[in-house]
Assembly symmetry: C2
Homo-oligomer: 345 residues x 2
């Protein structure tokens, strides 16, 4: 059983994204060179041509699955309903039918979410899937959700996400009793908005959840909790602010190191040390975010993903597939069902 | 008229805050040394003792106004209703009665807001005052509101805040037609949550407002717009995340510079250049945030404010008082009243 699961390839939507196949195929080739099996889903002729640029790629564990259509970055997410031959739909179907262990997409985010939701369905006990992402923190990294799948929410959604993320960290990162913080505007229980006050009450009563209480914006980079739960509006702003701020601040540091002859000389001496900090802040190191709550592994990344991000996303997806994450999430949500789904929707 | 206004002192709540009078008095002394008139509001005996530590302070334009009571950091904001002799109430009354041009408090934020609201009242056309703050950006700085006064909001509040902030930047910073961005999760007009979609429609139709459209989390540090409008829940998280991330990232840079002998040497050479970046990110450089929408100038800062933050807050408050900001806000809101207050509350 374990062997069978370990042998499943990861399906990559090799057509979607801002730059089309090139960075996607390059990332897949790199992942395949480290032993990963990848199904490249897209236009067969185009992908063949792209693959032929890599000497020896014929011997790698790569296979093309033809999908003549692609949902463009400027098209409607709802198009996934009618365009069954779109690469993202074909890729999700490979997971649904058990031919792939996970799907990775750098294409139209809304379409990727919709396709996974429609094709794979929701886990029982989950009202809405969420996008789970990571940010660097003083303790290593923090797990944040929802970062954008649900702009408007109900309290029960957040309670379910807390449960899903806890199971995720337990299974994939081997973290015992991961701590959960509810993003709010004051650490005291009674501080927050109408939504967080209701969610707080739900989380307090959830059995088996290591609920730390409210956390504030500053706690994210401090790593005060392993998990930070919030609605998809706030989470998306947090993620984009955090990534954008890191980029601007690092730009300022770079400028400062070029400000004078003396600082340029110093800059040469500190460059390799600073490179480690930059790497820690690079969103490409995570590759893609997990759409958690659907009945299958679905990773969704930036349209502008480079080959490194694609490779890292494929490796992450494979790692999660090998742990049997979906089965574990399913079991956890079935147990927790009574405490969340049915209480406050 | 201008001379009279220029001669009004700034009232400082010299009792509130995490550390009591010491940093408050020190900041006031520094501001007074640069010519600013300050009314120190608090326990007369205690403040006298504190002032006597500074040689020559008797000759500075400092005056003590006795207020025997103080609302502690762990007391209830609603206490301002009954405790009229609390320092924050006495300080606000000095503004109300025309004895001071502005009030600055580093005490209990909720109590400071409540006291200003109760004592000074709202400007006509303003449903709820907001806290206006600044963050550094690639273009200099960005003006963000609300950063915490209103956890739950109605669309009209944000429309009013956009108007208030535009007038503020015009009057205090001399910025012509400042651009306004609505914080959301996608640049397209139709992206956002239920709240921002309604606010977007309101802002689009406001005459005289330079509405840029939606902005995302990443736009804040890019400085895509002069002003970013959001609800007090999201804004508070943005502010605390931004400040917290800057602190953690700078800590990592500092660690990297100490990582090896070579990087330590380089660190010595780049130190002065990096100090400029650190200063740009230091929240103390702004000192305090403006409670905008009340009939009087009220600045509210961190309980942990140091003397430098206190001094900068006093200078900012005085600058705003000299521009006649309140009269200008009042005029702007009277004109805009029809377009905001009455439409969508």
């Amino acid at each position: 059983m374990t062997d069978l699961r370990q042998s499943l390839p990861v399906a990559l939507d090799a057509s979607g994204g801002d730059f089309g196949p090139p960075p996607l195929v390059e990332g897949a080739v790199e992942a395949a060179r480290s032993g990963l099996k990848v199904l490249l889903v897209g236009e067969r002729v185009r992908l063949h041509a792209e693959l032929s640029k890599y000497p020896g790629s014929a011997d790698l564990p790569l296979e093309i699955v033809d999908a003549p259509d692609v949902i463009g970055m400027d098209e409607h997410a709802s198009d996934v309903r009618s365009r069954r031959e779109a690469s993202i739909n074909v890729a999700n179907t490979l997971v649904k039918t058990g031919r792939a262990g996970a799907v990775v997409s750098m294409g139209h985010s809304g379409a990727s979410m919709a396709s996974s939701l429609l094709t794979l369905g929701r886990l029982s006990g989950v009202d809405r899937p969420a996008i789970l992402s990571h940010l660097p923190s003083r303790k290593g990294f923090v797990t944040l959700l929802d970062v954008g799948a649900n702009a408007d929410v109900k309290p029960a959604y957040l309670a379910q996400w807390a449960q899903l993320a806890s199971t995720y960290l337990r299974v994939v990162e081997g973290k015992d009793a991961p701590s959960v913080g509810l993003l709010s505007i004051g650490e005291e229980d009674h501080k927050g908005n109408a939504l967080t006050l209701e969610v707080h009450a739900l989380l307090r009563q959830m059995p088996g959840l290591n609920f730390h209480g409210n956390v504030e914006g500053r706690d994210i980079f401090l790593g005060s909790t392993d998990i930070v739960v919030t609605d998809g509006f706030t989470g998306n702003i947090v993620l984009k602010l955090a990534e954008g701020e890191a980029r601007v601040l690092f730009g300022w540091v770079r400028d400062a190191l070029n400000a004078s002859l003396l600082s340029k000389l110093g800059g040469l001496l500190v460059r390799s040390s600073l490179r480690g900090v930059a790497a820690r802040l690079d969103p490409s190191s995570y590759g893609a975010s997990l759409l958690i709550g659907v009945k299958g592994l679905s990773y969704i990344g930036h349209g502008s993903a480079d080959a490194r991000a694609v490779k890292n996303a494929l490796l992450r997806a494979d790692k999660a597939a090998q742990t049997g994450l979906i089965e574990r999430l399913n079991a956890a949500m079935s147990q927790a069902g009574a405490a969340t789904a049915s209480t406050a929707v």
